[in-house]
């Protein structure tokens, strides 16, 4: 709570410095941000952010710094869009399944490549994923987009449209049942897929044998090895899983909104996901909260720009400050918990029972 107060205070300072009235600005943000349409846009924004965060978190749980989500999701979206448009019209669930599967396989393959390089050639994953990002976005996608593009009236270079059988349904009708008619925006149905991935992530990491091996390797790779975890296989597996989820990042936009791949396809979601995972402490629920917070701040603070309260840069700084404070507050809470645990453990040692036993 103190952190939120401080964050608002610093954000207010930033606004004052830039010449805006912070009270008016906050009022505008709140008024705009609490509209149903803005909330829905926030959820739409949070969906890919969350998937990207989970993709990063999977690898992070075993100390792999997988920053290749960016390249993996763009490459995956590109191939999925190409395949999805190429198959024409199909039975809808089948059509969607083909698109999602393509995306997951491409994402997993691209991430798996980095994992393979790590176990066979000892290439650090940060280096390999950065390179693979560049190769994916500037290399493969640019090259093939030039080859496979279709002619259209717009200036945008793009692939063909995915037939409507490959569109993911919107949740607007369901939300409208409980609220009112929604204008302009549609709540992506893909949010359900993201939620499912979150649940699966939690269960697999925290409850399964595989998750145990993964976390053990993350906590102490030498002890994990001695306990029988095959180090190489686990690295490759973690990268494959991470990449498969990364492949889904672009699907909310592809299946729910845009329905084709073009040069204007959203970029930067992979890197934003790192912040989501870090803020959410690689936790399924934590990352969801972080993704929603990011989504909302981004959407709601946009109003300042529109209303002329503050330029875009100031808005960006303000959002960053708020996130920074949240991270600091979380780290402090974590630290206190650690100290308390240590104190509890040593109190145990000092208990009368302990003293008695040492005497006998």
């Amino acid at each position: 709570m103190a952190a939120v107060g401080l964050a608002l205070l610093v954000a207010a300072l930033v606004l004052v410095v830039s010449g805006a009235d912070p009270l008016v600005a906050f009022g505008n943000i709140w008024e705009y941000g609490s509209r149903l349409e803005t909330v829905i846009e926030s959820f739409n924004r949070a969906t890919p952010l969350y998937l990207s965060g989970i993709a990063f978190a999977i690898a992070m749980r075993m100390n792999l710094f997988q920053i290749g989500v960016e390249g993996q999701y763009i490459l995956a979206a590109f191939f999925a869009a190409y395949v999805g448009a190429g198959v024409g019209s199909l039975f809808p669930p089948l059509h969607i399944a083909i698109i999602l599967l393509t995306a997951m396989i491409v994402g997993a393959a691209w991430a798996g490549l980095a994992g393979w390089m790590k176990v066979t050639r000892n290439v650090h994953e940060v280096i390999s994923t950065i390179m693979l990002n560049a190769i994916a976005v500037s290399g493969v996608v640019s090259f093939l987009l030039g080859r496979w593009k279709i002619e259209s009236e717009s200036l945008d270079t793009r692939l063909g449209d995915i037939a409507t059988t490959g569109w993911f349904p919107s949740l607007n009708p369901i939300v409208e049942l409980a609220t009112r008619e929604i204008k302009r925006v549609e709540l992506t149905g893909f949010i359900l897929v993201a939620a499912l991935v979150g649940v699966a992530y939690h269960l697999i990491i925290n409850r399964s044998r595989l998750g145990y091996d993964l976390r053990a390797t993350g906590a102490n790779p030498w002890a994990a090895e001695a306990s029988g975890v095959p180090p190489r296989r686990t690295i490759v597996l973690a990268m494959l899983l991470s990449g498969a989820v990364a492949g889904l990042v672009g699907m909310a936009d592809l299946l729910g909104d845009q329905h084709f791949y073009s040069l204007r396809f959203p970029q930067g979601l992979g890197f934003a996901g790192i912040a989501v995972a870090l803020l959410g402490r690689n936790h399924a629920v934590g990352a969801a909260v972080a993704a929603l917070a990011f989504g909302w701040l981004e959407r709601a603070s946009g109003v300042l720009e529109v209303r002329g309260d503050a330029p875009r840069e100031i808005v960006t700084i303000m959002v960053a400050v708020i996130i920074l404070f949240a991270v600091i507050a979380y780290a402090l809470a974590q630290r206190r918990r650690r100290i308390e645990a240590a104190a509890a453990a040593s109190a145990q040692v000092d208990s009368p029972a302990a003293a008695e036993e040492a005497d006998t």
Binding site: S208, R209, A223, G228, A345, S346, Q348, E357
Partner: protein, 503 residues
Amino acid sequence: MSVAVRLTGITKRFPGVLANDRIDLVVEAGEIHAICGENGAGKSTLMKILYGMQAPDEGSIEVLDQERTFSSPREAIDVGIGMVHQHFMLADNLTVIENVILGAEPSKGALIDFATARSRLGELGEAYGLALDLDDAVGTLEVGERQRIEIIKILYRGARILILDEPTAVLVPQEVEELFRNLRELKTEGHTIIFIDHKLDEVLEIADTITVLRQGRSVARVKPEDVTAQDLAELMVGSELPTPETREVTVTDQTAVEVRGISVVDEAGVTRLRDVGFSVQCGEIVGVAGVEGNGQGELVEAILGIAPVTGGSIHLHGDDVTGWSVRQRREAGMGYIPEDRHRRGLLLPAPVWENSILGHQTRRRFLSSRVWIDDEASRDHASNVVERFDVRTPGVHTPVHALSGGNQQKLVVGRELAIECNPLIAAHPTRGIDVGSQAAVWEDLRRARAEGLGLLLISADLEELIGLSDTLLVMLRGEIVARLDPARVTPRELGAYMTGAAA
């Protein structure tokens, strides 16, 4: 005689623990003063306070009749106090001379004045019989030589009062004698030595005065002439000192693990293990003695399957497992107590219960199906280990890094014994735990042996090796150089084999 160090009423509290409780300590100038006590008696805390690493909550420190408060070791060094820590603080890839002057380099303009350093070190070495080749890389030296560097390091900084924290823990008997000779030399030159130890015969041999600590209090100040080892032990623990003896034979004709002529060549092409062969029967304890770094670590890693062997074969309950993965070997029953629990044995940030199944996470009893871990069964198992092996923890959800070293060790040992592994490969199973718990671990190992456990025991504690083993092997430079009958060997003889002095 004047007083070098006088500590009065030193009290130090940590959250929930009273580490030092009104301790008084008087060390006379020019004497060797031993401080004994069990793990957790407060010896190290007291010395850290004297050396300025920690500030006391109460009490006063007088050095050479002047009251002092130290806020850092730097200030303690300035008044002539030096400390040799249990874990050496040396840079392996630097030479002896570079290590000694590190942080206190004599300079000539912007350059290090090696000539001055060299001549000063020469004098020091001469004066105290601490001969060393100054240009050797520290990484190539034996443990005893490294210790000598640490001592020279503090002498070089002008120390007159030397604190040595368990200096003999890492040495073989011959090296201990060498160290004692050096200490006596230093004493004749007028240095004061404070010596922390819990090996009683050593204390009786070297000390002029002994202060005994128990549970954070100073319980006795005695002269070695007036007490026996037994008396000291009773002062330390308040009861009889247990011994690690195993006598009745329980060896069976079933082989638990057998290695046949295995060799290991490391990545640099150096042979670490040469043609090592032996077997451990069910119900047998085979002890491996040797100065650390003579291939014991490689032997353990080869048997466990972490490091590949370049020759020979390994057999587990009759199966050739040379090509098996670590996991396959673990599933076939192999247990493991690593020499470094933090590196190979524990997940420090993870809770006790997760650590209690580490190495056995694929066993049916901890799984509710092929995919899922059975949390409840695992936690029950953890509670069982905690209770049976007296692991002091607030609960099974406490992260392991919050536990003290001794309790972490008990968790590692308890985990392997409670799961009923066979064979068990144990390296220094009682390292870092106090005398009481040590006896409990010995008792547990003996009981497991009686129930058919085949135990390969690697230890630096020669009494433990002689007391527990049915067969003793000695390793030197990656080879087994002797097979001894523990009933007929003394620690001294064993030491001679370990250093290669006996053929």
